[in-house]
């Protein structure tokens, strides 16, 4: 009985603050600084290239994580849908290729080619982009508005295992909300994914971000 009481209190507490995300990297409400990186076609792609975009979908993903692989087709389809709407989808691979050889630039190029990615797939070799966002797993989605303000962070939908089991499409709902000048609800979700291997510790990243590096 006592344990049930504690459980109720814990769940109530958790739900009260359920929309407040962990406190590292960009949070909902933060404005993202422009970033750029080498894209699989060899050119540098920057967020500045998308003048007039109505919003952005940034997804940290990779070649090797099975969860990211389960989302690959969904990401491809979403990007195609967004192409007509002036909403760039930018995929970023921040995995350290020393730890994960399947995420080398060559492998990224072959993945993009074979699956005919219609969106930029950036190679975050220095991990500067993932450190600024402090994205933690793959896939990890950030939806920004036209001013590059973060409006949603988290999972694409509520059923990684397979698309037929999806009930709520968090990212698409966030896009719809932003287009109506509303705040996405939820603005933050958690999801199981493969941890992104970061060479920098959290403390160092916070220090670097604060000093504008």
């Amino acid at each position: 009985m006592k344990n049930l009481f504690y459980l109720i209190i814990t769940i109530a507490f958790v739900n009260l603050f359920a929309t407040i995300p962990p406190s590292a990297g960009y949070q909902v409400g933060d404005v993202v600084t422009d970033f750029s990186a080498k894209e699989v076609n060899g050119k540098t792609v920057s967020t500045k290239d998308f003048e007039g975009a109505k919003g952005f979908v940034i997804v940290f993903t990779c070649n090797t994580c099975p969860v990211a692989q389960k989302y690959e087709d969904r990401i491809i389809q979403l990007a195609e849908k967004l192409n007509d709407k002036d909403w760039p989808l930018i995929a970023i691979n921040s995995n350290d290729k020393g730890i994960s050889p399947g995420d080398s630039f060559d492998k990224m190029q072959s993945t993009s080619k074979s699956k005919k990615y219609s969106f930029p797939y950036l190679y975050d070799e220095l991990q500067s982009i993932v450190n600024a966002f402090w994205a933690t797993e793959t896939p990890h989605f950030y939806v920004l508005d036209a001013n590059k303000k973060v409006k949603y962070i988290g999972a694409m939908d509520d059923h990684a295992d397979d698309v037929t089991g999806v009930k709520t499409r968090y990212v698409e709902n966030a896009i719809d909300a932003i287009e109506k000048n509303q705040d996405p609800n939820p603005s933050f979700t958690r999801a199981v994914g493969c941890g992104i291997n970061k060479r920098t510790t959290l403390a160092t990243s916070v220090l670097l971000n604060k000093s504008g590096i």
Partner: protein, 136 residues
């Protein structure tokens, strides 16, 4: 082979009690680094039998028989408590392990001396696991 637990049972598992040491490792068959560190938990249990060592598997439902059971059988992890979560929303259960956990696995929760310590990455080696416990 794997006992399914609900939110209530997970909450109890993740609640520290002053006189007990509990190690809870969250893993999945598709997370390579997570599988690499499983032997450390088995070794820990062998060296310190009084510590409760729990493996919580997060594989998708359909993959349990095909991918999870072989890992457990091959590595002979039956000496550890093997659990899995079914049908729970990430936003409901993850904060019970750690509020700041956004979902990356593998991850380990250490409960000792009434305190909690959450490590959101794999242990490089057995010594790292032992050190993390001793630090609490």
């Amino acid at each position: 082979m794997l006992k399914s637990i609900d939110l209530n049972e997970l909450n109890l598992l993740c609640s520290p009690e002053s006189d007990k040491v509990v190690i809870v490792n969250f893993w999945a068959s598709w997370c390579g680094p997570g599988i690499e560190e499983l032997p450390y938990f088995k070794k820990l249990k062998k060296e310190m039998p009084s510590i409760k060592v729990v493996l919580v598997n997060l594989d998708f439902e359909n993959d349990v028989e095909r991918n999870v059971s072989p890992v457990l059988i091959k590595g002979q992890y039956s000496s550890l408590e093997n659990l899995r979560l079914t049908g729970l929303k990430a936003d409901d259960w993850m904060p019970l392990a750690d509020w700041d956990w956004s979902g990356a696995i593998s991850a380990t929760l250490i409960l000792a001396s009434g305190k909690k310590k959450f490590i959101e990455q794999k242990f490089e080696n057995y010594s790292a696991l032992k050190a993390a416990i001793q630090q609490l």
